[in-house]
Symmetry: C2
Subunit: 231 residues, 2 copies
């Protein structure tokens, strides 16, 4: 409180953080996976060319993406593998594990609870919620299913930050309202519907149709090209 404003240290990456575009962020997990492989293979330094090569990306793109991070490469040598891993994890906040609640213990919810990769991405699902009395009280992949009515109170008490919605579309808005009431800061929505959420709560929709759009347009374009060539 007594330190003058210009001396206060900005949390790592925070200044650049706000401005990182979505496509750059979406490439970061891929870089991370490749870097962890390189580390396993015993590599200490990696060039953007080699890293991008493994991922089938343009090295210039990787080089540009890394300007968003709190790390600077060496000309001709590249980046220290461990340092680059840490810089990406710190940028994404994956160096700290955050607690999350999941709502909807149907097959999607079960699939998400069974996914082991979340923890190394900083996400720890501490409880699941449902309205179905047949599911409440059961345990899915080691996570207890609690009645939805308890969500808001528990979220406040446990200071849970992230909510995951894996319900049918019709139930999603009501669940989102409970999450907002419980003070959650971010919602990861798997229900195929758009939610109305106050601006202080972050939302990311996991919309499978977006990937399907890329796949089916590419397939369509390739077939059109073949027709052209063989027509």
């Amino acid at each position: 409180m007594t330190s003058p404003r210009h001396v206060r240290r900005t949390p790592a990456g925070a200044a650049a953080a706000q401005a990182i575009p979505v496509p750059v962020l979406r490439r970061m997990p891929g870089y991370l996976q490749a870097l962890r492989q390189f580390r396993t293979e015993g590599l200490e330094w990696v060039s953007c060319t080699r890293l991008a090569g493994r991922l089938g990306l343009d090295p210039a793109l990787a080089r540009k993406d890394f300007t968003a991070l709190d790390i600077t490469g060496k000309p001709k040598t590249g980046f220290p593998v461990t340092g680059l891993i840490r810089a990406i994890e710190s940028c994404l906040g994956w160096d700290n594990v955050r607690d999350a609640f999941l709502v909807g213990a149907g097959s999607l919810g079960r699939a998400l609870l069974g996914y082991r990769g979340f923890r190394e991405h900083g996400l720890n699902i501490v409880a699941a919620f449902d309205t179905d009395p047949g599911k409440i009280g059961s345990s899915l992949h080691g996570t207890q299913v609690l009645p939805l009515s308890k969500l808001a109170g528990l979220a406040r008490r446990m200071r849970v930050a992230i909510g995951i919605i894996a319900t049918p579309a019709a139930a999603a808005q009501e669940v989102a309202d409970l999450m907002v009431a419980g003070g959650l800061r971010a919602i990861w929505n798997f229900a195929p519907t758009s939610l109305s959420i106050p601006p202080e709560v972050l939302v990311e929709n996991e919309d499978l149709s977006r990937t399907l759009a890329v796949l089916s347009q590419r397939l369509q374009a390739r077939r059109a090209l073949e027709l052209e060539e063989n027509g």
Copy 2:
């Protein structure tokens, strides 16, 4: 065969198709959903400003995205709602339904089979495959589960174009090899691993960690900002 090359009609959108960037394609399903809502509300024409407004996007971005489509807007009036819907569906190939095979009848596979939205996105899952004798012969959401050993033969006979991998990471490459052997043209991979696939087969990885990267970095950046303001 006899028509001279310059007269041959290019299939709709094929020329532009190859060049459409991934972020543009990923926004198309959102436009489509909003346009269908507008159509339900009785709207016949829509401006980019109004359409983008509903999606929280920049109107200039929407205007630029639509240059990839085989449709031209009218100044001050915008686009015909139905025409724009058709142009997007045609660009994505969603005006034709394509058959798909799904492999992996675990909770993720079940969740995907239960998702009703795929059909309106041009995808029809005609069969599921697994190696577990306890699952083979059963029916999930109306789709039969067959032994994995039948995949390649059936794919050739039924001329199935798309394969969906919903297996654990360790099984994914073997499944992908069977899909390639069966002549599938595109693979939608939900297993958290990267596949080695010949270049003539398209692959899109559905990697949840990519969305999680966006959500957690945004959350981290927002908290850093709050610390700054309250520090």
